[in-house]
Symmetry: C2
Subunit: 107 residues, 2 copies
């Protein structure tokens, strides 16, 4: 398993809606993530909208993202979520993930 | 197990040294973390020094930090690491952790 960390930026004025949607993520989106090998996946939010993602996968981030991108439900979810993020030209958030370098790990 | 996410800020001009020290964390520091219930603990770094920490613990962050603070090796490690962080008055990094809110989790 690889451990992946990434950041995104949620628009500060839409944080409450973003959180509400993430309390009820579509079951078919959750199923697609599981099938694409996204495990132990958490999203953490800072009060200013900085969003940190952590998950574990047998793949690398590019492959894990590509496997999701091949699903129809991911296209719908990313288009639904795009307005909640700070991104140029309302880009899909899954195309904006900035991967972080893991510099320490203790099992 | 609780999942904890936090952020800190490493001084950009000291990132290389910070990374080098984290490739060889003192064995007694690793042992103290394990004994204090810090599991699956990763640190992720962005190029500008933003540092994201993730770990799993039977405790909350305050308790996990307090258990480490009670050890002599942690005092030495935090004083060693303090100059690598952006913090007022060279505060110990373990007193500067900003906890993030987990807004989503998929097992």
């Amino acid at each position: 398993m690889n451990r992946i960390g990434f950041v995104l930026k949620v628009r500060q004025d839409r944080i409450d809606e973003y959180k509400a949607h993430h309390r009820k993520v579509w079951p078919e989106m959750l199923a697609a993530l599981r099938e694409a090998g996204w495990h132990n996946y958490s999203l953490f939010l800072r009060a200013d909208g900085l969003l940190f993602g952590y998950f574990e996968t047998p793949h690398d981030l590019a492959t894990a993202t590509a496997q999701m991108a091949a699903t129809e439900v991911n296209t719908r979810w990313q288009e639904f979520m795009a307005p909640f993020f700070e991104s140029p030209d309302n880009a899909r958030p899954d195309q904006m993930l900035m991967e972080l370098e893991e510099v320490f790990h203790l099992a």
